[in-house]
Symmetry: C2
Subunit: 230 residues, 2 copies
DNA sequence: TACTATTGACTGACTGGTTGGTCAATAAGG
DNA sequence: CCTTATTGACCAACCAGTCAGTCAATAGTA
């Protein structure tokens, strides 16, 4: 434990918080908030317990910081998705879910994040609210915009998915949870699953003859209308 | 603690285990396994900690018993669903999901059960495996049978939902989780949500002209994408 | 009916181990 | 030297699990 101290001591101050957060994420996601021992977090980060308290005031704040750290990249993607759409609505969904599957389902840390938020949500209402406000809410709203856009341009029919975009997102959540819980023994073939998801989506959203014409102009094949609202 | 001893002391032996399980469910679901104190379980059940150990060997077994107790009714429904189907496949799905929404989404205890299994699954692999073996696995398989039945009778097209019935179930899970986490501040309108779910399902499963014939004889026409079983 | 003996569900004080959090001492720059 | 990041021994609280003892309800006796 005393060997391999090549790092200059002063510079560690920069790196420590990140190292601690990384170790904390691993420990928290393995054992949950209550059952995680700070001594284990410390030893995983290559330090001792006391040092954690130099950078974080207590266990709870460490936990919150850990979650926030992992939430950031997904939050950034959400902003991009909300930007004004162009091209086929189904293509936008395809691209979006490609990112989401990569980020949340295939990446074990993404899955763990979801699991932790579900598991500990009850004890950290502020965290849950923040998650909703900054990730989930915008995500639902962005999907709703895409669906609206698809309806407006005559690509989609007037689907209930406009009211409940949750429906088109839910298979992602299912896959996350499934892989986390049963992945060891009963793993899903994620590539095929994702394609199946998108196929179902297309079939349930696309407009057909019997749906009649849709769109503000009344002409389905008109140019792409903008979705500037909100 | 000494007043109100109307109950005959001897007869309590019958009722105690059930009372303890009920109290334990409330406490475990509120705080999680690790953070739950047996003293709180006891006082909620109107007894003291020692009495718990008369009926359960330790905290872990109490937890397992609590979960198993709540899992039983759903397990029984699964067996019914697996019975040989008749009538419209979509009608069967409708009836099934009616039960499932009532049992898992609208009932707070049903939601809590799911949340607990997700939250503590990592620390109780045996429980997770049992849940998969007795509830989830059969449920997926039963849904698959219904989809297959629908395809065979020409009601559904050759859908990828045959390989991944998870897709048609996933909105239930989403609703459970959503209500548990955000239900306080951002509740879903469950009646509308369920109808939206079923509408989407119907649209994505039903056979259309361009899918070609796929009658009870089981001969899919050329060109129709066949989903190889398993 | 009255009195006593026995039972066993229940209690609650106790223990042994664990862990969040503290802080004086230490060691590594500069 | 002085500064400061880090340590690790330490404390106090907490809690799962134990067990000797209590007492209400019954069974037995006369």
């Amino acid at each position: 434990m005393e060997a391999a101290r090549a790092e200059p001591r002063r510079r560690r101050k920069q790196a420590r918080p990140g190292e601690i957060l990384e170790a904390a994420f691993a420990e928290f996601s393995a054992a949950g908030f209550a059952a995680t021992r700070l001594e284990d977090v410390a030893s995983r980060a290559g330090i001792t317990k006391g040092t954690i308290y130099v950078y974080f005031p207590n266990k709870e704040e460490l936990f919150l910081a850990t979650i926030k750290e992992r939430m950031r990249p997904t939050m950034e993607h959400m902003e991009a998705l909300t930007a004004s759409p162009e091209g086929g609505a189904m293509d936008i969904l395809r691209a979006h879910f490609h990112f989401v599957y990569g980020r949340m389902v295939e990446d074990p840390q993404g899955r763990e994040l979801l699991r932790m938020l579900v598991a500990e949500g009850g004890r950290f209402p502020a965290l849950t609210e923040r998650w909703h406000a900054e990730v989930i809410g915008p995500s639902v709203e962005a999907l709703r915009q895409v669906v609206r856009y698809g309806i407006a341009r005559g690509e989609f029919h007037a689907t209930a998915a406009e009211e409940f975009p949750h429906l088109i997102f839910s298979p992602v959540m299912m896959a996350c949870t499934w892989q986390t819980l049963f992945g060891e023994a009963h793993a899903l073939d994620l590539a095929r699953y994702r394609e199946a998801h998108l196929d179902m989506l297309q079939r349930s959203l696309e407009r057909r003859q019997e749906d009649g014409a849709a769109g503000p102009s009344g002409q389905p094949s008109a140019g792409s209308p903008s979705v500037s609202s909100m």
